[in-house]
Amino acid sequence: MIPEPTLNSYLMLSAVLFAIGTAGVFLRRNLITILLSVEVMLNAVNLTFVAAGRFYHSVEGQIIVFFVMTVAAAEAAVGLAIVIALFRHRESLNPDAFTSLKW
């Protein structure tokens, strides 16, 4: 007998995915992988919204996911444009190479 997934199972899964994304942002030294980790975090939040929407018999959870995806697309486009501009400037994707504003 397999345990039936409850709302908590979905929230827990989403929490784990969010923490993996956080760890990626902190641990990787590659701007593209950092942006990918942010996408992992956004997806974890989307899972929370859909699970909660299902739990409360509401369609709003799915609508907010639609908006989150739009913002994620805009974020990816602008973020990658900045990465390209930075790479042209320094020939590197390592965030440690960009320290001009560091005090």
Binding site: F55, I63, L80
Partner: protein, 175 residues
Amino acid sequence: MADMDALLFWVLGAGAIVASLLVIGQRNPMYSVLLLIVSFAALSGLYVLLGAPFVAAIQIIIYAGAIMVLFLFVVMLLNVPTEDPPTGYHARLLGGAGPRRFGAVLSAGLVLELAWALRRLQGAPMPDDAAAVPSSVHAIGVKLFRDYAFAFEATSVLILVAMVGAIVLARKEKS
């Protein structure tokens, strides 16, 4: 049937976690992007289990289809196969290892705290009656274009601004 769904939840959830872990474990961003698509596919399956086929479809079409292709384009365009190994000052004390180890501890603490909080809650079983959940595209469309029409229009402005911004940022400087 319910047993099958439960099994699918555990399989897809484990798949999403393993794929996400591999995403942040790769040095080559190319593999990271491809593994992230695997993670998105698993999440899309979870959305189907949650009775949200519309979200599952746009997850594949927009995320795996559009955003990840954008990432792949940039990875191929910049052609930096692997990230630099830690060298010099950054491999040593404050600049490198310290904050990174702190970040790992911080994210582990985040999981522990969330687990602790969620254990205090009683397990709330998912409502079984899928028919009672208004998940059809029709219901989403009516709600989206009636109650959230302003937010929808604002999103189009956001996309326009992002498009102009991306073009301006990535353009070659003429000097």
